[in-house]
Symmetry: C2
Subunit: 215 residues, 2 copies
DNA sequence: GGCTTTCGCTACGAGTCGTAGCGTAACTGG
DNA sequence: CCAGTTACGCTACGACTCGTAGCGAAAGCC
């Protein structure tokens, strides 16, 4: 859930401004946690709404009051994993890229992320609402890292500043697709480990390309 | 199906060497075609075995006699699309890479490939048999293009020959994951068009990296 | 206390899954 | 030509999941 929390009254409820019984925040977190647990145990295809409800100690109808689909529920359940992604300054562009690659790989190694990410993307090819939700809940959070890393590299003088803002956006999108795409493909399609050696080779290839293009 | 055809007797059957009524090859092709049609109309999640059987004019039990899963069926149905992938000699490494990127993008633009590819990969994270089937039916066919393109570039003198065969295999895998991953991510996750401009930018980035690494 | 909304619970029709059983069709070897 | 073997179409079935409707009770606002 992209929950918009306002002022807290009691720990389990939220002041919505509207009248009536407020929705239980505990139920929300319990449901999302139960969803991740079910993903680990059962995987995407065998995960059922009824099972998630039972695990969370909630009625099945409560799930359907908050999420229309299994898809939307899983996106929200997995989205929080992407909050862990950070980009500490490691001193150089190469180190930063390698760090984010390994971090993203560690995320993809988790079984709940593995099975859920590809599945919801597959569904999003036929569901525009889901695609938008994925973009705001997952994709944009990753893309921020690219923008941050580039700004840092520019400040270090490793990458040139780009004058045209449109061209800058395009190149950021390109770099993002290359990094995220390569890691996902290596981890899930080729199904081979994204270890330090691979991360180093990939980073060297990418940064070399960036360097020779920039000059 | 990775059908092993031997000698043909009549157009609709295959001499298997075994006794009994042979399996209808017409049924095979009709089922796979019906599966692709159903993927286009309904998408992965709403595709049902019963529907495919009806479209193909076959009994539902016939499907289960040949494929254990919906997953395996869809892999075989989509695999033939990858036979179209070719790598004509365009004269330079840059042109070859750009060509294969656009070709792969055209394949991913087809609705039956879009919805099916990510879905079966998602399932393969929990099904080893499926993962192996995907590898031989889809992934290896793509990877051949990378090996072919590199050999050509080496013959042209654009890329250095590598002495260590293991290192050569690793670098081929890396390049494959970068190309395929970036295109898939751009097309399905970012959901933006893989047009000529993007293909050119990406190719330039990749080939520049390869060039500066090789020297 | 009255109003409003959410909650848990039960029940339901609709749809899908994968299998079993049957009689028939097709092809092979003697 | 006939017996043996395998595939086929068809029907029916239990088990499961889906998403919804209806109910009384709970929890908060005015």
């Amino acid at each position: 859930m992209v929950a918009v929390m306002c002022k807290h009254t009691r720990p389990e409820t939220v002041r919505t401004g509207r009248t009536g019984r407020p929705r239980s925040v505990e139920a929300d977190t319990a449901i999302l946690e139960a969803t991740r647990a079910a993903l680990v145990e059962l995987g995407w295809s065998k995960l059922t709404m009824g099972d998630v409800a039972t695990r969370a100690g909630v009625a099945k109808t409560t799930l359907y009051r908050r999420w229309t689909n299994k898809n939307e529920l899983v996106v929200d359940a997995v989205a929080v994993l992407f909050d862990e992604l950070e980009l500490p300054d490691r001193g150089s562009l190469i180190a930063d890229v390698e760090g984010v690659v390994l971090q993203f790989a560690a995320l993809l190694a988790r079984p709940e992320a593995k099975t859920a990410l590809m599945a919801v993307v597959a569904e999003s090819t036929r569901d525009d609402a889901l695609r938008i939700r994925i973009r705001s809940a997952i994709v944009d959070r990753q893309k921020r890292l690219v923008l941050e890393g580039r700004a840092r590299a520019q400040a270090r003088g490793e990458l040139p500043y780009e004058d045209d803002p449109e061209a800058a956006a395009r190149s950021a999108d390109l770099i993002f697709d290359v990094i995220a795409g390569a890691v996902v493909h290596r981890a899930l399609v080729s199904a081979e480990p994204v270890d330090q050696a691979w991360a180093r080779s990939f980073t060297l290839l990418l940064v070399s390309g960036l360097a020779s293009l920039g000059s």
